[in-house]
């Protein structure tokens, strides 16, 4: 560690978008053969900083040195020429292309299929990737796509790799495999930057942690000499308790009984197979599973927006009156107090309209309530003010189109709106997808608050640690089927991981 060779040095980098300062005078250094975690809350400018290294954005101010030489990186091609490659959070892959077409895309040199495939195999063998070069991207799992991305970057000769939240969509087993590959690459002298929110991963994989806060340097730590608490405090700027509270359910009673539900999607694939469970008031039922295991369809079926082949969903209200939800109009189901907040991968896909502003988006839920000719704009505005205030949404104002906000902030608005509708049953999926610690805990608190109020909560999550901490029970889905329903207090992470892939 003594005589480390600098791979990249970024000095005094600043960048602003319209009205928002994304980075202010940031310094960043990366040495050969190390793994650095870049840690920070949403909107703290981690991805922006790395995008400038990858040539996606161009810095307004500052200098970048690669291998001791000052460079100007004005396009991804420049970055590639300098040996810098980035794996983005949203994969940059062409769906209808095969793996090898994606890997070869844009590379210099002759177009030689067999030689390209041979190189891909060589890279795979060297670092331990598993890739079928002829497989189409749209047939791949998330983890396979990610592998293609990393192979692509190495194929193009990168020795400086940037991974933007690579583990957000992987199972624990897949994560472990990724880390193994990363360690192999480090051994080979490559430098890796990993952007992440998950502190246990920072501890597991990185040599050094660089923390950003609100677009500026907040500090730098050596992983071996720090702990999650210190990192969090540095990231947030004030002390944060890391434990998610799990209040005991208060006299739970059955609120929603789901029996033998089957759902087939438009392509004729059975997405939900004979799923039965019940939800109690004042309890959080966590749902674990690899993404695409039927979570979305199940939630939509309950909310009435997905056609159900067979099965029943019975809602039981406080007075023990039973209502069959299947066949009801989604609006009527919502009026009963069943709220759905699904955060899709692109965040804007469901529930929010990108070009509308925050209070208009709040209005989407309530415009039906006022039976007048003219819409009531004051109430949604108040709701919006409240959500922005409580969840600390960072926005130039209530009139900013939602599309212009950062992902985390968009999400807060979506979840905040659903909670503000005062539901009896709250279905949330990926509520903290990609959110930083501070915002995530805000959302956990909000969900727990609902729980204490006696709301039956269904919590679909990706982060198993969180799922295990917040839920009372966990239902594990695998390929549309219930693998098991377990007690969250007793189960281990590994057991859930195995249930997710049905290897028990």
């Amino acid at each position: 560690m003594e005589q480390r060779e600098t791979a990249v040095r970024m000095c005094g980098i600043s960048k602003r978008f319209d009205q928002k300062q994304a980075n202010t005078c940031v310094n960043f250094e990366l040495y050969r053969g190390e793994i650095v975690s870049l840690l920070g809350e949403n909107g703290s400018g981690k991805t922006t900083l790395m995008n400038m290294l990858a040539g996606i954005y161009f810095p307004d101010e500052g200098q970048i040195f690669v291998g001791g030489r000052e460079v100007k990186i004005s396009s991804p091609a420049d970055a590639a020429a300098l040996g810098i490659g980035m794996v983005h959070q949203h994969f940059k892959l062409v769906d209808v292309f095969t793996a090898w077409e994606n890997i070869v895309l844009g590379s210099q040199g002759r177009y030689d299929v067999s030689r390209a495939k041979a190189r891909i195999r060589e890279i795979c063998d060297k670092y331990g990737f598993v890739v079928d070069p002829d497989k189409k991207i749209y047939n791949m799992t998330v983890s396979e796509k990610q592998t293609v991305e990393i192979v692509k970057v190495i194929f193009r000769g990168a020795d400086i790799l940037i991974l933007d939240e690579p583990t957000a969509v992987l199972t624990p087993q897949e994560c472990e495999r990724l880390f193994e590959v990363m360690r192999n690459m480090r051994k080979d002298g490559k430098s890796i930057v990993i952007i992440t929110h998950k502190l246990n991963e920072v501890m597991a994989i990185s040599d050094r942690v660089v923390v950003l806060r609100q677009g500026s340097n907040a500090g730098e730590l050596e992983t071996a000499k720090t702990d999650p608490q210190e990192m969090t405090d540095m990231m947030v700027g004030h002390a944060v308790t890391l434990d998610i509270e799990r209040p005991e359910p208060v006299n739970p009673e059955k609120r929603l009984v789901i029996k033998n539900i089957n759902v087939t999607d438009v392509e004729g694939v059975r997405k939900v197979k004979d799923v039965s469970f019940y939800m109690n008031s004042g309890e959080i039922l966590g749902i674990a599973g690899i993404s695409g295991s039927g979570q979305k369809e199940l939630l939509e079926a309950i909310a009435g927006i997905q056609k159900v082949d067979s099965g029943s969903v019975v809602y039981i209200d406080e007075n023990h009156k039973e209502t069959e939800l299947i066949g009801m109009h989604p609006q009527d189901i919502r009026d009963l107090g069943v709220a759905l907040s699904f955060v899709p991968e692109d965040r804007l896909g469901m529930g929010l309209v990108g070009n509308m502003n925050i209070s208009e988006n709040m209005m989407l839920r309530t415009f039906g309530e006022s039976h007048k000719w003219f819409t009531d704009r004051d109430k949604p505005r108040k709701v919006a003010e409240n959500v922005v205030d409580v969840l600390e949404v960072s926005t130039p104002g209530l009139d900013t189109p939602v599309r212009r906000l950062s992902g985390g902030n968009i999400q807060k608005i979506l979840v905040g709106r659903e909670i503000s509708s005062d539901p009896k049953v709250l279905l949330t999926a990926y509520a903290v997808r990609g959110l930083d610690i501070n915002s995530s805990y805000k959302i956990y608190d909000l969900i727990n608050e609902q729980k204490k109020k006696g709301v039956a909560v269904l919590f679909v999550g990706e982060d198993l640690d969180v799922l295990m901490q917040i839920s009372d029970k966990i239902m594990v889905l695998c390929d549309g089927e219930v693998s098991d329903i377990v007690d969250a207090k007793k189960v281990t992470k590994n057991e859930i991981g195995l249930l997710m892939t049905s290897m028990v």
Binding site: F17, A54, I56, Y57, S75, P76, A77, A80, M86, H88, K92, L93, V94, D95, V96, F97, E101, N102, V104, L105, G106, S107, Y111, K136, Y138, K152, E267, R404, S406
Partner: protein
């Protein structure tokens, strides 16, 4: 049988302008630009060729035209006209990021107006009695077929009786298909149309690809207009005679699933459908049926649209970012 043999060359002649338009639009759409200005582009391609040829024929007077110049001048003029249309569209859509549908429709309106304006002006200049321009000398050169075609009977009629532009259309379609399928440029172009963000991150110059493919597509499509006037219409330009062939070419792109080689057969098929009404005997007392038969290509297009939208295969879908403009720093 004889009727059918006579039908095929006519179907081909009808199909060639469609083929040019279809190939051009495929090249353009593969870059993610949905150029609804295609009818206008083809119109401008035609009138530009007519303008060039008109002045050349006039300068020659009553003498013979030089065959080489008679081809080259309209060809270059047509290319220039279509190129300018392509540049305008690209500038609006790629550089200024204007809405593609609106821009395309405006380009069509503009192109047709441009053609009719200059067509009308030339008709005035030529002081003809009928509202059309006749460029018979140029047309004769464009329509020159291979000398041995006549001696081969029906075989010659079907395969060798066309002017050089018809063969050019087929060759261009084949080349485009090859480039898209087999070359690095084709791979990059497809990537730009599917997912410009990915292409950009891979170091492909998205703007350049969009410009070049849109302009190249326009030039190819413009030849369709030129072929229509010089070969199909025997060198006679009259305003609005080109009809709705441009729209049909756009429909063909969907019909062929963005495959240029398929376009060769599809355009000839559509060319046949376009004139089928002339070959279905209706008798004098049921002329109204003819009008119904004229609907055939459009009905087929609609049926095709229904089928293509039902199909689920990912490879057969339009380029994913078709109609969307790309801006790197958008968040």
């Amino acid at each position: 049988m004889l009727g059918f043999l006579a039908f095929i060359p006519r179907a081909v002649a009808q199909g060639i302008p469609l083929l040019f338009g279809c190939t051009g639009e495929i090249v353009t759409e593969k870059s993610g630009n949905l150029n609804l200005g295609l009818p206008g582009v083809m119109y401008v391609g035609a009138i530009s060729g007519v303008i060039g040829s008109f002045f050349y024929e006039n300068s020659v007077g009553s003498g013979d035209v030089n065959a080489f110049l008679a081809v080259l001048i309209p060809l270059l003029c047509s290319m220039a006209g279509s190129l300018i249309m392509g540049l305008i569209y690209s500038f609006l859509v790629v550089t200024l990021r204007a809405n593609q549908n609106v821009t395309g429709l405006a380009m069509t309106t503009f192109g047709v107006g441009f053609g009719n304006f200059f067509g009308g002006s030339l008709i005035k200049l030529s002081k003809a009695d009928i509202p059309s321009i006749s460029l018979s000398k140029t047309s004769a050169v464009f329509r020159t077929s291979l000398p041995f075609a006549k001696s081969l009977g029906w075989f010659g009629d079907i395969f060798f009786s066309y002017g050089f532009l018809a063969y050019t259309a087929i060759i261009i379609a084949l080349i485009v298909a090859y480039i898209l399928k087999k070359t690095k440029v084709g791979l990059s172009l497809r990537a730009v149309g599917e997912n410009p963000g990915t292409a950009d991150a891979a170091g492909i110059n998205v703007t350049k690809y969009k410009y070049v493919s849109t302009c190249a597509g326009c030039i190819i499509a413009g030849f369709g207009g030129l072929y229509y006037v010089m070969d199909y219409a025997c060198g006679i330009w009259s305003n609005d005679a080109f009809g709705d062939r441009g729209w049909l070419a756009i429909a063909l792109v969907i019909f062929t699933l963005w495959k240029a080689d398929l376009g060769i057969f599809a355009s000839i098929l559509f060319g046949g459908l376009y004139i089928l009404y002339l070959y279905i005997p209706t008798g004098m007392e049921h002329m109204e049926l003819k009008e119904l038969y004229k609907m055939i290509p459009y009905v087929v297009t609609m049926i095709v649209l229904i089928f293509t939208s039902m199909r689920a295969r990912r490879e057969d879908q339009p380029p994913q970012s078709l109609g969307l403009n790309y801006f790197r720093e958008e968040r």
